[in-house]
Symmetry: C2
Subunit: 534 residues, 2 copies
């Protein structure tokens, strides 16, 4: 941080910071306590931190930035209009703090050491009226509040919709970490040898059943996430291109919130397996996995805690259905679901019985069935609690949270498998298509396998077919283990980005740790189409 | 590391290091390549690193220690007698390296920054004949090898039995991390508030169903592990007290290997949930969870990789049974299992049907049933592959690895639930007993819940009882959430060891981060018995 003595102004070097979270309110942004009181006389807002819980926490770039986008309760004549966003100057071009602003460095974290996080507090800092970002609510010279969105809840959601692109960006970041981790772990597993038949050469560790069982499902998941996040990005690009307001695209918001939660959790679980599957080597910093783990660990709770994100998914799913019937938020939806859903489900149920369990059709129908039944079940439970038993919505919702989270993930599972299937379908090169199909079948099988208890409970699987699913899962993992090298090679991560000695790519800072590639087959044979596409 | 200039000898400050793992061989210790060639003329062993793969890796204290316990192939007249342990001087009392020894610092790791790990290589280092640790094998002056254990495999296992106490120590370390993490996360969850019913105060986050669902099962598991690791420690103490050789206590070796794997994995999963359940605060170093995670991450792969440990469990289980029938390693066992097991299982199956699913009897029978069926199934599969289909043992075993790992964990699940149940039974204070019983039921329910797919496949649960198990799991978690404070308080971790601001215990290095305790009820009411015992 430049001291006061450093008076050389840095022209064109203004940087910003995003100040939403407070000490007392992280997930529940609506409850933030920072105040922006309109003063009609001076035509200013007075930004103030009224108590310790109102301090802005975890603010990235807090120890260096010049301007902050501060979320605060907009207060006019003593009445709050809810959270709004204000531009507050923090430091001048010489890095000197403006009066009334205080910053505390939050120091050490598990990861992301390149980001300085700090606590921001404001002691009646005055900013011009024009510093309110007024897309969703403005204050006139004479102190009249106007908003294009009447309903305060809708207005609040509109502001939060701005988080959608960064949440999608986080999905891509998680995916990047996952691809790098998998590249390292899979390359190592295909060169490292340990144990083997008596009197013979030890086998590559990828041959151990437990090793490919742990890594292959993650690779299949990474592929599913690649295709699904691209799908979400295309919708987002379309909206931006046509200057559409994100707030009106609730399906996209639900998809991105769900993808954020699913991808960041899958990433952590993947990296942990990569770390364990590479043994002590995976614990060494030069092999990159520890850094990836520590940096991306926070992804699951920032930009919207994952458990909250999954609730956003379900709330949006409910909202979509409700809007369709233009009735009150719960009633119409429930009436619809509990009545007509039964028939549709029965149809789909009958249709599948002729499919083989190793067909994509069977797997797609299974995940679709699950999402629908969970949705119907949740609607019925909420209906019964809120409408029949007159339970408060908060406590009814809370007692269904496990169900909510399960439904949200089931939704994302269905969408990701669908997108993967569509990608396979549109693959123009037959050889690549069949390779991708193997991974797609593995992904679908994994989804059904991990929820087979649910399918058994709902008699969608019999004990016999459930055991078949397990065997299918085991054999799918074994089947793709050699093609895994082609896939990670098609990720096309430049060697200077990998730099993990155990991946056969030296790291100049750890010369002693280099494991030369011992691998002769497959490694450099790249499949043309997936090379170009992944 | 003291430089050569630092000539002040440190009297009584000799430290050692344990040099087993090599670059090429971690899990497969039998395959290590370091050589100890006996030279009858000089009555010395020549310790040598013949190739890069033979370098000793990850050696703790390598950059400072004076002596190393080096595992090497004992070679006499050109023939290897298998790995033996030798004391090799590395540095003199001034910290100066002896000739022929080289050390490379391995630098940065994910955690355990207090331990220096290095690579040791030997260039024909001569040590006296007496430096062979000769309990399991000695070399006479005239170069004759003698061992009290004839069979080389048995001899090798005898040497590895020495790892049992350190593996148990690791279980206690993992448990320590788990208890500290849970103390921090549960105390915070009982003071932090977020979201709530409309117009009312926000609720404590422990009230959110997803929050207690994530934390309570870990607390129950920690209790089960406390009682089980004590049970193992008592057996170990008895053996040490009576100077019995650990090698002869195979059940203990199996128990400790399994406990090591189970406890270290449970610890990581617990700490990850503690981190996520405390949000961004859990990512801050001052709140301790990141440090605990990074330090204990390596536990799952060192002192025996967990996947290997679970194989040790199953091999020992097989060996126990075999010994009983004094036949060849596989045959006798299989014959026994595949014939008589059926009847015993049927009896136990009939016996349970009158128990309620929320009784400890039901849960104990369920985990016992599962272990037995998995055991019988594995025996039958190996029998069929090796005996009938003449498949090589290595490949037969490898194709059953998923089954092996599942059985090993099922074994540990059964033992931990039994030990927990016994501890509850012997608790003398009725109030504490009923509190512990709640956690014991939760633990048993969790075990059955997480494997309910298997129980459904084997028709041990019906779809209806399986759904009941889920509801029981949800309600058990909710039931114990308030008592959780009493339990973590009974862990009796001194405040200066906790020092996590979010746990309401200030950390002098992060004054800004202190969250004063807001909690009024339960916090300081300690249950007498569990206080004294945990």
């Amino acid at each position: 941080m430049p001291g006061k003595a450093d008076r050389a102004p840095k022209i064109h070097a203004f940087t910003g910071m995003f100040a939403m979270t407070e000490r007392g309110h992280g997930s529940n942004v609506r409850g933030i306590l920072t105040e922006a009181v309109f003063d009609p006389e001076s035509q200013e807002f007075i930004i103030n931190t009224p108590c310790e819980d109102a301090a802005k926490m975890y603010i990235g770039n807090a120890t260096r930035g010049n301007y902050a986008a501060v979320f605060a309760q907009l207060i006019i004549h003593g009445k709050s209009q809810g959270p709004h966003c204000f531009i507050v100057p923090i430091r001048n071009e010489y890095g000197e703090m403006y009066p009334g602003v205080e910053v505390v460095d939050m120091m050490h974290k598990e990861g992301l050491h390149g980001v300085d996080n700090g606590i921001l507090t404001f002691n009646c800092v005055r900013i011009p009226r024009e510093n309110l970002l007024d897309k969703f609510g403005s204050v006139s010279r004479d102190g009249k509040y106007r908003s294009p969105i009447e309903n305060t809840s809708d207005r609040f959601n509109a502001m939060l919709a701005a988080l959608t692109p960064t949440r999608l960006a986080l999905t891509f970041q998680a995916l990047g970490a996952m691809k790098l981790g998998l590249t390292i772990a899979i390359r190592y597993s295909h060169s490292r040898r340990q144990f083997g038949p008596k009197g013979k050469e030890e086998v590559k560790i990828i041959e151990h059943q437990t090793q490919h069982l742990r890594l292959m499902p993650h690779l299949a998941t990474a592929l599913a996430l690649i295709f699904t996040s691209r799908y979400a990005a295309e919708i987002l690009d379309e909206d931006v291109y046509h200057s559409r307001d994100l707030v009106n695209n609730r399906p996209l918001q639900a998809l991105v919130a769900g993808l954020k939660a699913y991808s960041t959790w899958e990433n952590l679980s993947c990296l942990q397996d990569c770390r364990e599957c590479t043994g002590g080597m995976g614990f060494m910093m030069e092999n990159r996995i520890p850094g990836l783990k520590c940096d991306s660990d926070v992804f699951v709770t920032f930009e919207g805690d994952n458990v909250v994100m999954l609730q956003v998914v379900v709330r949006e799913l409910l909202a979509q259905h409700t809007r369709q019937y233009e009735e009150s938020p719960i009633f119409g939806l429930l009436r619809n679901w509990t009545s007509s859903m039964g028939d549709r489900l029965r149809t789909s149920f009958l249709a599948f019985s002729s499919d083989k369990i190793n067909s994509l059709t069977f797997l797609l129908k299974a995940v679709t069935f699950r999402e629908r039944v969970l949705q119907r079940g949740l609607a019925a439970r909420l209906y019964s609690k809120v409408i029949k038993d007159k339970e408060q919505f908060f406590s009814a919702w809370n007692s269904c949270l496990h169900h909510v989270v399960t439904l949200a993930l089931a939704h994302i599972h269905r969408v990701t498998l669908e997108q993967f299937a569509l990608a396979v379908e549109s693959c123009p090169v037959p050889k690549d298509q069949s390779l991708l199909m193997e991974f797609c079948l593995l992904y679908g099988t994994k989804l059904v396998y991990q929820e087979r208890a649910w399918y058994l409970e709902h008699k969608y699987l019999t004990p016999t077919t459930s055991i078949q699913i397990r065997n299918q899962f085991l054999s799918n993992c074994s089947l793709v283990k050699d093609d895994a090298l082609k896939v990670v090679s098609a990720f096309n991560i430049p060697h200077n980005i990998v730099q993990a000695p155990i991946a056969g790519i030296p790291n100049p800072r750890a010369k002693w740790a280099y494991y030369p590639e011992q691998d002769e087959d497959g490694e450099n044979k790249k499949a043309s189409w997936i090379n170009a596409k992944l």
